[in-house]
Amino acid sequence: MSNKEIKNSQAEVEVSNDMNTQLSDRRAFFKKAALSVGALAGTGLLANEHAASGEDDPFIMHHVKWGQKLGDPVTKNRYGMPSEYEHNVLRRNTKLLASGNFQASIAVTPIHESMGIITPNGLFFSRSHGGVAHVDPNEYRLMIHGLLEKPIVLTLDQLKKYPSVTRTHFIECPANGGQEWRGPQFNSLQFAKGFMSCAEWTGVYLKDILKDLGVKPEAKWILAEGSDNSEMGRTIPMDKVMDDAMIVYGQNGEALRPEQGYPVRILLPGWEGNLCVKWLKRIKLSDEPFFAKEETSKYTALKPSGKAIQHFYANEVNSTVTSPSPEIPWKDLKVGELVEIEGLAWSGMGTITGVDISFDGGKNFVEANLKGLVLPKCWTRWSYTYKYEGKKIVLASRAMDDAGYIQPTIDQETLITGIEAVYHRNGIETWEVSEDGTVNHMQMRSTLKRDETGKVVIDKEAK
């Protein structure tokens, strides 16, 4: 959301509120007010009645400017907005991450500012292939057809008649971190790891809709297709449909935002964000996959063999330190003082079971602490209270999940997948924290080469 948009919407509401206040409240107000607030408000900071010396904090010793004059009426901001002071907490983009224009592009979440495990809707990362579509909910239709006895068309109201389900899950673009297969490029947590967000979703289990439609036994796959400019579509196996796939229309207690597919998207918990097709119009059951553009030309992971992994569904176990970050370094710390190192862990394959933290770039680890709700395929908060020593440390985190996976080192991962995979990178990431608290993104990795048989090996002679 731009500052201009905040300002405009606030200005609009302000005008109507002022009129409202004038018409109904003004007389009563002046009658009841014992003090002339108007006279006080013009004078700025007034010293209170206590004695003050130079050591005293003026923001304590003086009445703060918002503490005396009237605040906004409750009639202002019919849809609430963040404090204007938060105007730098924004989705951001960069030209590198645009396929030509900013319609086929991504704007990523400021996870260096994220709190807890929920991303507010206005900051949820936004990725589209033909721009954000603006769907008229009255014209919205969802068609389900193909290998079933009873194809149907649903309006939005009809879809919402099914018993609702609410679940909290992250959605991650599988290219999260994918610009850094060959080395770190972003000195920024927002760009290095912010191709993801987490929300509470409300909708319908797709299996609950399908169970009454006579799915034919030969149906093995579905196509989920969007109604946007690009008709973004993906093939999904029926296994996922019959497990936890949802057709969602709610996000953090309100309708999906247009950027997340308003009015309806498919949600495949834990799987590639690209598979969670937005502006959903059609589900087709089939005995064969569909080879849609975004599951062939893109979203396939090329290995050193020259073969590419297709249908690489789940975002694997991953984690990052979120505090400190390159954006928000440590400041004003004294040697011996305690400071919380905080981070996120997530796995599209299950539930986070533990996170380890390293202070020497991933050589040696100790256990960190999970905290708060620990849910399947959901952001999980972890922390470690560290005694600041005033010297350089290199922070790395490593998560595990209940499917038995642990984050690989960069070497472990790239020896198998090479460095041209683009997608699904989950190697351990490192942040170098200097003596002065500044944070720099770096990686701990060996130089690779091919041996005489073509196998990818560590180049032991590399300088």
Binding site: Q179, K220, M349, G361, G418
Partner: protein
């Protein structure tokens, strides 16, 4: 780390034993009492006994709950009959996918027609002969069969060539191209090409990728139709794993993701994970080269202050957000290219910009600016200031 490597191998054994046990998916709900503690092999099987298709965990309903969520039992047991049956026409209108088993509708188009269409509707983004440009995808870099061989390229040496992932060299199915052109292109006005035009553009794609179809070179005189389309075999048709076509497709996927080493995963028994000396001795600190990528929009900032007062219309910022992708090289701000356009007066330049052009520029460049601001923007682009 060396401990980890050993453990990868044992991890998939229990899970693969669960494969192929029963037939259909997820319709067996009689699992009350089964445990789903994450450490056991049974945790990675669906209620029908099959391994989870993505290699991860599933959470069967136990004591009315799936993981920590309480299940609505009525929702699972009642029958809901909402919506209506679509008409045959409605299904036909939306059932537009084209796949390896579902051919495009009957029709035809020539390479020559395709090239004309390409020059008219595609070249401004995809470049001459599909060479790409301005960040838009390239469609060809030459001979498909030759470039397919580059897919083993890995840039371990930063100066080496990377793999060529273009239509001819990488895509496994030509159906993908036909379908995407027809439903997803041209980018500023999709779903506007006829069946014959789509055949023509597909023919041109085969031509610039120097493809051979059924032993016949797709030369400038080639005409593509449904029958010939059915015979296209892409050079990289077998370049993907696991194999998803055919009756075993789903089971191939399931088996593939049971083996962590197929996709770079690491499995470990938590009590045996590496805690000391976990890096290769050759691993060294690698830093961002130069300043890295930092052209963030808007620029990175974390300060808590009041936003600066909105000034007037910022033409440069509007250019960056709306125009720079196409107008960075040709007709860039202040470029001499503009002379050919401004000679007829600025009013014509404004009018064309506002209405959009046949050259592919959408009205107002796809922006939602007012006419007044758009004209200011055009002034900036012509003058460069």
């Amino acid at each position: 780390m060396f401990k980890l490597n050993k453990l990868i191998i044992s991890a998939s054994i229990a899970a693969s034993a669960a494969l192929f046990m029963t037939a259909c998916n997820g319709d067996d709900t009689s699992t009350a009492g089964a445990s789903h503690s994450g450490a056991t092999a049974s945790a990675v099987a669906y209620t029908n006994g099959k391994a989870v298709i993505d290699g991860g965990t599933t959470y069967p309903v136990i004591n009315g709950k799936t993981s920590d969520y309480v299940i609505d039992k009525q929702a699972e047991s009642e029958t809901f009959n909402y919506g209506r049956t679509p008409t045959a026409n409605e299904i036909a209108a939306w059932d537009t996918d084209v796949t390896h088993i579902k051919l495009p509708p009957e029709g035809s188009g020539s390479v020559e027609e395709g090239e004309e269409l390409y020059e008219e509707k595609c070249v401004m983004c995809h470049g001459d002969f599909g060479s790409g440009g301005g960040g838009y995808p390239s469609l060809s870099k030459g001979n498909a069969v030759e470039l397919q061989k580059t897919l083993t390229n890995q840039r371990f040496d930063p100066d080496a060539d990377g793999p060529s992932r273009f239509f001819g060299s990488y895509w496994p199915q030509a159906s993908t191209m036909w379908w995407y052109i027809h439903d997803g292109m041209p980018h500023p006005m999709t779903k506007s090409l006829s069946v014959d035009e789509t055949y023509a553009l597909t023919a041109y794609m085969l031509n610039i990728n120097e493809m051979v179809v059924d032993g016949v070179e797709v030369d400038d005189d080639y005409v593509l139709d449904q029958e010939k389309f059915a015979k296209i075999v892409m050079p990289n048709v077998d370049g993907f794993e696991p194999e998803i076509r055919g009756k075993d497709g789903v089971e191939n996927v399931r088996a593939y993701f049971q083996v962590a080493s197929n996709f770079g995963g690491q499995k470990v028994n938590p009590s045996e994970r590496c805690m000391k000396d976990c890096l290769e001795p050759t691993a060294k600190a690698t830093y961002i080269s130069g300043t890295g990528i930092s052209d963030f929009l808007p620029p990175m900032a974390t300060v808590r202050d009041l936003p600066k007062a909105e000034g007037g219309f910022d033409a440069k910022a509007a250019y960056e957000s709306n125009c720079a992708m196409c107008h960075a090289s040709y007709l860039a701000p202040g470029s001499s290219d503009w002379k050919g356009y401004t000679a007829h007066g600025m009013d014509q330049v404004y009018a064309k910009g506002i209405a959009g052009t046949e050259g592919g520029m959408p009205p107002k460049g796809g922006s939602s600016l007012s006419d007044k601001d758009f004209k200011t923007l055009v002034d900036y682009m012509v003058s460069g200031k």
